[in-house]
Amino acid sequence: MRWWFTLPLRFRSLLRRGAVERELDDELQYHLERQIEQNIIRGLDPEEARFAALRSLDGLTQRKEECRDARRVNLLADFARDLRYGLRMLRLNPVFTAVALLTLAIGIGANTAVFSVVNSVLLKPLPYPNAEELVGVRQTAPGAAGLANFADNLRLSPSMYFTYAEQNHTFQALGVWFPGTVPVTGLAEPEQARSVWVSDGTLEALGVQPEIGRWLSRADQTTGAPETLMLGYGYWQRRFGGDRSVIGRGIMVESRPREIVGVMPQGFRFVNADADLILPVRFDRSKLILANFAYQGIARLKPGVTIKEASADVARMVPIWMNSWSNGPGTNPRVYETWRIAPALRPLKQEVIGNIGGVLWVVMGTIGVVMLIACANVANLLLVRAEARQQELAIRAALGAGWGRIARELLVESGLLGLLGGALGVGLAYEGLRLLVSIGPTNLPRLSEISLDGRVLAFTVLLSLLSSLLFGLIPAVKYAGPRTSAALRSAGRTSSASRERHRTRNILVVAQVAMALVLLVSAGLMIRTFLALRTVEPGFTHAEHLQTMRISIPPSLIAEKLRVTRMQNDISDKLAAIPGVSSVGFASGLPMEGIEPDWDAVVAEGQSYAADEIPPLRLFKNVSPGFFKTAGTRMVAGRELTWTDVYGSRPVAMVSENLARELWGAPPAAVGKRIREFRQWFEVIGVVQDVRENGVHEKAPAIVYWPTMVGDTYFGQVRTVTFVVRSDRTGTEGFLNQIRQAVWSVNPSLPLASVRTMRDIYDGSLARTSFTLVMLGIAGGMALLLGLVGIYGVISYAVSQRRREIGIRLALGAQQGELMRMFVRHGFVLVGIGVAIGLVAAIGLMQLMKSLLFGISPLDPLTYAAVPVVLVAAAVLASYLPARRAAAVDPVEALKAE
């Protein structure tokens, strides 16, 4: 009911301001007149009566203002006026406005860009229905000796998949999958398509319905049923022009026809892989063993089930799995008890994001600090402005403007600055993100999902307003305060500046320097990390001169083992014949290439293991003759493999240096010794230098190098290999053409995949570090620049304010050099304090970066010594420039000017 009275009043106050104002005047006038009359009756003379009446009201103007406040009209009307006023002030000071806006636009733009990456990559749910129910089914096996990456991520074996899928109580659906590439022929040029092999339960868990057609079903998994597959949206568009009649058509995969049964919709990504083809895995249940831990697990939790409950469920099923299957007659399933297999389920999102989360938060933090420094700079500018207007503000305060009123006006002005800067910043961020997506750092997951959405814009507005408040409040508190008389007095022309007036700005500069130091230290640590990584010997040389490509020969094309090897040998010979090629080799996978590793337990002759003990696992690689020579991997002892060894099916092998040391004490001692995986013994003919298989930041694993074709071992032979070609002509279009022609002259239906140089692979393994380095470098650079601008501003303002004092000192005989040093000293002291505070903060904060560092401690003495030196030197320079102007002051002029 109250609105019945209040609403018309509000409107009236708003729309008929004149009338309302007049009424207020009339009302108070009436009061005054009556009071005067009364006073006269009491015997005061008219003049006194008037004064007494005014006094009784305690200041007519203030009271009117309070009445207006009571009516709330002020809020809106004042706001409009403040806005106009603010805009005018900004227009009147174009240089100030430009500098402030640019600072803010860069700061807010950088923050918006980084936040939209954080938002898209880390915060937004994965693009699956009820994505929070999805988990990656991972396991740990701390007892599995040998492979480090095994201990913290033991994949699922097919038998585990069946046990878990059939016996669980907590999953709606559970499946296994693995990514890879398969050759597709008959469409255009033969190509190596990105594929994902999935078991039943995988698509059900992800829950994304096909665009057309159907999902792969359990029937597609059974041996003997027609061979089928699904297409990814992009591949469907590229190869079939989005034709909806593809369902039911055939496509040649690995030289065998497969029927297309469905197409996944646009934007569908398989966890972290872009899949062209989705193919059903086929497990022959009757032949499954315990081992073959090669598959990634994915599951959808039943509603309301927590990850902890699901983990407990899996833990319950591990013994069931061990009892239900066997590795074959004569083997003991209990050996896996020593592996201590335990579930390590985690949200699927984490699986997708990987280890980039830490990096992004560090970058977000640093860029936030840059924003703080930018705010400090703008606050500094505003302080100078407010100082210049101090007298005006003081007079207005004396005339009855309340503290809130003046503060509001200053805040509206800074709010305007913030929002305008924010708008510009969004533009910058938009461009920056487009650039980022077009560069497409390979190690950034969910890149295609990055966009400026509502949440990002809300963040930007909030950031703009918060920073406006931050840099606007400092001058508002300082100058809108009730210190009228002091301000009026000290703003007089004849007094020199008080210490008080500089304190706030000094504090701001100290804070800026401290923050800049922290950022520079973090950038410095990343540089040191990068350099440390570059000095690590990766196990190959001159990566830029190594052209690599992956070629697969499917059984449907060539069935016989020996002929596969002959064909690979032919390709090598043809490649070696290209002008400018010095040597050629191939292997099951290159270092750092990220090919799914092969591994198993290896026994050295003369060693014995208990029945319930599995010998340590070793990484397996199959290599061709000449591979190490081509890659530039040093032979430490013995000799490299020859084609005679391969075709003669000689039981020979090579080992890595660290494995030789572990088993036989010294590399030369390894030559002639024998090892075995199953029954057959292989003679060690050579020892090669350690290779950083998993990237330079990871320890070199122990590796056994088998010949590319091995007589009768379980793994047999490698049909998909990566060729390496050493030549000075790598990367040129002509060279790549010659390579393609050479391969197709052997067989025209062989696709070449992942054509790149070893350098690309190497850089890819450093991508996370270089990404962090670049981001922190940019942040550190911005911080340094803004910090220097801050110091420069403070010193140069101090000089301009103290011209008079300088003039007096000079007139009294002070030396110019001495005066200059006085100002430089001022800058030096500020920076010194800032550096000291910054060092303490850095020591604490750098612990957060520990996981991103390599080869150095978070307290790296060199960085902590160098950064302050650089910062202090730059700061002294920044204060020297304005200080020179102090020395150039002409005393006569300075004193006359007053």
């Binding site: 009911m1 019945w4 009275f5 009436y30 305690d58 203030q62 009571a70």
Partner: protein, 110 residues
């Protein structure tokens, strides 16, 4: 502390109570306040008007321009229905508060 300092928020109550008797203009309200409280409550004329405007804005009182007792136009305030309810509520509150305070003040030292 001045003994007569007006307890925060009680000015509204006093105004509402005075207006409950009859519609009055600002000047008259200030005179009435001084009369009834016998100069104990020194309500500053200055704070009276903002309070009145606040009450009007809140819908508790309504105003109209009428000729005053000396035939000049003045702004007369009167209580609205919600204002009456508010007065009842505030008066009851005050009652409780003053009883409570009186009891505390009268506590005898043991």
């Amino acid at each position: 502390m001045k003994p007569s300092a007006l307890v925060q928020g009680t000015l509204d109550l006093l105004i509402l109570k005075i207006l409950a008797l009859e519609p009055l203009n600002g000047w008259a309200i200030s005179q009435r306040l001084k009369q009834v409280s016998g100069d104990v409550l020194q309500v500053s004329d200055g704070s009276l008007y903002p309070a009145l405007h606040k009450l009007e804005q809140g819908g508790w009182v309504t105003a109209e321009w009428k000729p005053s007792e000396n035939n000049r136009r003045a702004k007369f305030y009167s209580l609205t229905r919600v204002g009456r309810q508010e007065l009842k509520k505030e008066a009851a509150n005050w009652e409780r508060l003053s009883v409570a305070i009186t009891q505390v003040v009268k506590l005898k030292e043991a």
